[in-house]
Each structure stands twice: as structure tokens, then as C-alpha cells.
């Protein structure tokens, strides 16, 4: 409590340290949300990704991987020719602008090499970080390459890949930004209005 004339900060702090109690239904509300989200399975995935193993790739596999890399390199060169500065941008960049006058979004290709993955999705501030969003599910292209081309609004965005509904992977080819919520890196992308 207080003295007659002095307000003591430690007394105030002691009063404020009394525990607060939330509504009785709070736990259930949180768990309802949580149980609707994809389940984690990182341990299994991580052990698969990190376990030492011998990789054997058939000549066909090598061919597909090489063709994929050449395709992405060629697309990158074509795009960089239009704008030199974009040559330094990540592989996830505006490639095929749709009619910018009609829509403020651009088609952006996201690419991740994840040979052991069974599912890869793109999440970001442009899709509410929703790993189940249909438009952002990557397809396996061969050689362990996953890609998806999806609309992203013009502007600065943060994004990440979600592998097998559990493992968050920053784009290894893109600049990283610190996530203000979690203090961990996301990838950054700038989508320009190609008027």
C-alpha cells in the first residue's frame, strides 16, 4: 500500500505482479485453433534431411535436374536483360506480369530445391501465412525442384517455404529479414508495378 505522502514504485509493482486469470474457456479456444492447424512432424522430416546417405541419381534424373537448372537460369537471364538491377534479385521474382492496369498483383515464381519433401507451400504476408492456400502449393518439377507461380501484390513482402506442413525454410536465394514476431529470418521480396 501507500504511505501518507510517498508513492512507492516498488509497492505499485508488487500490486501489479498479482496473477491475472483468463476466462475458463481460454484453453479450449486456443486448442480449437491449434488443432485446426497442420500437425507438426519436424523430427521425422529433420532426421530424413540430415541423416547421412548415399544418393544415386540416374542419368534421367541428372538430365531433369540439369534441364531444370538451365530453364531457371535462362528465365533469370531473360528477365535481367530487361532490368539490370533485377539480376541481383532472388529467384522468386516477378516474371510474367499480368495486366498491371487491371490488377495490382504480379505473377511471381517461387522455387525451392527439396529432394526429400513430399509437399512444399509458400506462405507470406500476402496469403495470411496460410500453408493450405491452394494457389501457393508448389509442384514437384523433377530433380528435387519445387516451384509455383502465384499472384503477389505489388509492394514489399515477407515470405517463407513450408515443407511437409511443418518445417519453415527461408528462400536460400533471397535476402533475409528478421521476423518481428519470432526473431528469426524470413525471406524478402519486392514486387514492382511493371507499368
Amino acid at each position: 500500500m501507500r504511505d501518507d505522502d510517498i508513492v512507492n514504485i516498488d509497492d505499485i509493482a508488487r500490486e501489479l505482479r498479482r496473477p491475472a486469470q483468463v476466462d475458463r474457456s481460454f484453453d479450449e479456444r486456443v486448442m480449437r485453433h491449434v488443432l485446426r492447424l497442420p500437425r507438426h512432424a519436424r523430427a521425422r522430416l529433420w532426421s530424413r534431411l540430415t541423416a547421412p546417405r548415399t544418393i544415386t541419381i540416374s542419368p534421367l534424373g541428372w538430365g531433369l535436374a540439369a534441364a531444370s537448372l538451365m530453364l531457371f537460369a535462362a528465365l533469370g537471364v531473360l528477365h535481367a536483360k530487361d532490368d539490370f538491377h533485377r539480376a541481383a534479385r532472388p529467384i522468386a521474382k516477378a516474371l510474367f506480369p499480368t495486366s498491371p492496369k487491371a490488377s495490382p498483383a504480379q505473377r511471381v515464381q517461387f522455387v525451392l530445391v527439396a529432394p526429400d519433401a513430399k509437399k512444399v507451400a509458400v506462405v507470406g504476408d500476402f496469403n495470411g501465412w496460410d500453408a493450405s492456400h491452394a494457389a501457393y502449393q508448389a509442384q514437384k518439377r523433377g530433380g528435387g525442384v519445387w516451384s509455383v507461380t502465384a499472384p503477389v501484390p505489388v509492394g514489399h513482402h515477407r515470405y517463407s517455404f513450408v515443407v511437409d506442413d511443418s518445417l519453415w525454410v527461408a528462400d536460400p536465394t533471397a535476402p533475409r529479414v528478421v521476423d518481428t514476431d519470432y526473431g528469426l529470418p524470413n525471406s524478402a521480396i519486392v514486387v514492382e508495378d511493371n507499368k
Binding site: V7, R18, G183
Partner: protein, 181 residues
């Protein structure tokens, strides 16, 4: 039976046992509800921010680098959710009393009553600028060190010390006014 460590529970959740997350919710909800309530000034916004923090933490659990310190990681998320909620609320409307006369009037009714004193403290706390309130709560109520506060908020130690000092001055002024009325 000995309670599981945070790291053990996190490991169970990451292996696919989502229901195990309930133990973490039960472990941290009351402690962190206190911070959210003091920061946001009303139960509804506080529970919303806390629920949001728990949900975001679950979604990003694979990115928790030190599961043994899950609580500290969750708290960092909550601090940021409270900042966001406070900004949103600030744009919408101030829900707490900002009128000094109302503050004084509230104290006159039951000047010696513990509940009334507590109410005066809550009102005074909500009179602080949000960054001062945040710094004061982290330092004096959550009892964090300045280095940890700096890591958590991204604000320099000197600036944090200044915010805490200003918060203390303002609280003393506000509560002295109430007391002497």
C-alpha cells in the same frame, strides 16, 4: 509426477502430438495474461492478444531455436502482439479513462480500499505512453534485466532506461494527485 520440461513438450508437439501443446498453454497463460492485461487495459483485448500469441507460437514451433526457453520465446511474441493490438486500438479508440477529473473522482469514493487503490494504479498505468508502459512492465513487473529487455524489444538499453524513468515519474505524479485529492 514431475512436470515435463518445455523442451520435452515442444518435442512431443513437433512429433505430431498437437494435444500436448495444451500443457504449454496451461503453464504460461495466467502469467502472460497479466502482462497483456496491463498493456492493453481490458480483458477482451488481452485474451485476444494472448490467444494470437499462442496460435502463432504453435504455427512456428519448428522455428523455436531453444525449446527449453519456449516461455521466453512465447513472451517475445506476446510483447509484439500487444504492440500491434495497442496500435490498432489506439487508432480505433482509447478505452481507458484519460480524464484527470475522472481519475480523481474514482479515488475519492473509497480512498483506503485496496481494490480502489488497485484500480487507481491500473488507471494510472493506462495513462502512460505505450512505450513507457511496456518498459515499466518489463522492468518492474516481469523483472527483466535491461539487456534482455533490449533483445526482446529491439530498443537500446539507454532508451529503455529513459522510458522506465519517465514512466516512474509519471506514475508517481498521477498517483500522488489521486492520493492528495
Amino acid at each position: 509426477m514431475e512436470a515435463s520440461s518445455d523442451a520435452a513438450i515442444v518435442a512431443r508437439v513437433l512429433r505430431g502430438n498437437a494435444e500436448a501443446y495444451r500443457e504449454l498453454v496451461e503453464r504460461y497463460r495466467d502469467q502472460y495474461a497479466r502482462y497483456a492485461l496491463h498493456m492493453l487495459g481490458n480483458r477482451e483485448d488481452a485474451e485476444e492478444a494472448l490467444q494470437d500469441a499462442f496460435t502463432r507460437a504453435y504455427r512456428s514451433l519448428a522455428r523455436c531455436e531453444d525449446p527449453e526457453r519456449f516461455g521466453a520465446w512465447l513472451f517475445r511474441i506476446l510483447v509484439n502482439r500487444c504492440r500491434t493490438a495497442g496500435t490498432r486500438r489506439g487508432r480505433r479508440a482509447r478505452t481507458f479513462v484519460t480524464d484527470d477529473a475522472a481519475l480523481l473522482g474514482a479515488s475519492e469514493e473509497h480512498p483506503e480500499d485496496q481494490a480502489a487503490w488497485r484500480e487507481e494504479i491500473d488507471r494510472a498505468l493506462q495513462q502512460l505512453r505505450s512505450e513507457q508502459r511496456e518498459a515499466f512492465l518489463l522492468k518492474y513487473v516481469e523483472e527483466l534485466g535491461y539487456d534482455e529487455m533490449s533483445r526482446m524489444t529491439g530498443v537500446g538499453v539507454s532508451a529503455l532506461k529513459m522510458r522506465v524513468m519517465r514512466a516512474c515519474e509519471r506514475l508517481r505524479d498521477l498517483l500522488s494527485e489521486v492520493h492528495s485529492a
